[in-house]
């Protein structure tokens, strides 16, 4: 069974970057796939990778992460203006961030139009060590 957990942006809005990252990683470490409303700042994304590396051990192997933005298509001037206006109005709440534990989510494939989660079913689920891909 795969558990998805949604976190609204308001839950992390008033936290420091370190606490935000900790809160998100704590969920992922419990083998849940996290759906965060909005996105982290670029520096926080780098911080998330750094903290993930520090947390890797025999059980926790890291994360898969992808950000889906509602306005990621198109790069013309009009699109750029539109994007800036949307970001100004919605701030970091626009789009959605998906973070999953690497032991469960093998890969997140992203095209501007769609997103695919390829999951891994591990030994403990009774597959005798065979890895299974799901789309």
């Amino acid at each position: 069974m795969i558990t998805l957990q949604f976190i609204p942006y308001s839950d992390i809005e008033n936290l420091t970057p370190e606490k935000r990252i900790k809160k998100l990683l704590d969920v992922v470490k419990e083998d849940r796939i996290l759906l965060l409303e909005g996105r982290l700042a670029k520096e926080e994304e780098a911080g998330l990778i750094r903290t993930t590396m520090e947390a890797i051990n025999g059980r926790f192997k890291g994360i898969e992460i992808s950000v889906v933005s509602s306005n990621s298509k198109g790069h013309g001037l009009l699109k750029k203006i539109q994007k800036n206006i949307v970001e100004l109005l919605s701030g970091p709440r626009s789009g959605i961030t998906i973070i999953g534990p690497a032991t469960i989510v093998k890969e997140i494939k992203k095209d501007p139009d769609k997103i695919q989660l390829l999951t891994v079913e591990a030994k403990r689920n009774g597959l005798n060590g065979k890895r299974k891909r799901r789309k």
Partner: protein, 210 residues
Amino acid sequence: MISIVNQFIKKVFDRLFGNKKHIKIGLYGPPNGGKTTIANRICTDWLGEEMGQVSHIPHETREVKVKEQINIKSGRKELSFSLVDTPGIATKIDYEDFVKAGLSTRESKKRAKEATKGVIDAIKWLDEMDAVIVVLDSTKDPYSQVNITIIGNLEARKIPVLIVANKVDLKKSNIKKLQAAFPQYEVIGVSAKYGTNIDRMYEAFFTIAR
């Protein structure tokens, strides 16, 4: 945020008062994109010696390596810089992947531990860079979050970026897809292994290192 402001002030002061003696150009990207192969190509072409060891097993480079005083020439132009080869940035590291690649369990666990430290160091070094060459494997999906995070962080720090799409000699190579993913940057397709288009890459160094 404060570190970005400090970095910006430092850069402005360095430019105004000429404190900058050397510029640092970093090689960044996900593992196995060919950063060290490119570093070796640059060092062999201009210094006559290689910089590091390469391997088909990911995370061969697990510590930041610096090669000082590389002077490259193109026509009348000359550029002097230190080249910084960094470990590949990844969001996951599983020692079992190294076991599958043929390493012993002990070696694999050691490699995984060193690789995690390497990623942390590579991120820490971002603030030291004056310009960055992001090396991406042109046969792979360019929309990975690691690519976007690296480029986004460079953008946030106002560090000039050149994207080098490596492995153009391979059939699966798709530079157009990479260009479509990062239309705001110059993307140069090269084969570091065979030296294809390397001169164009050197030309572009002058643009990002201004």
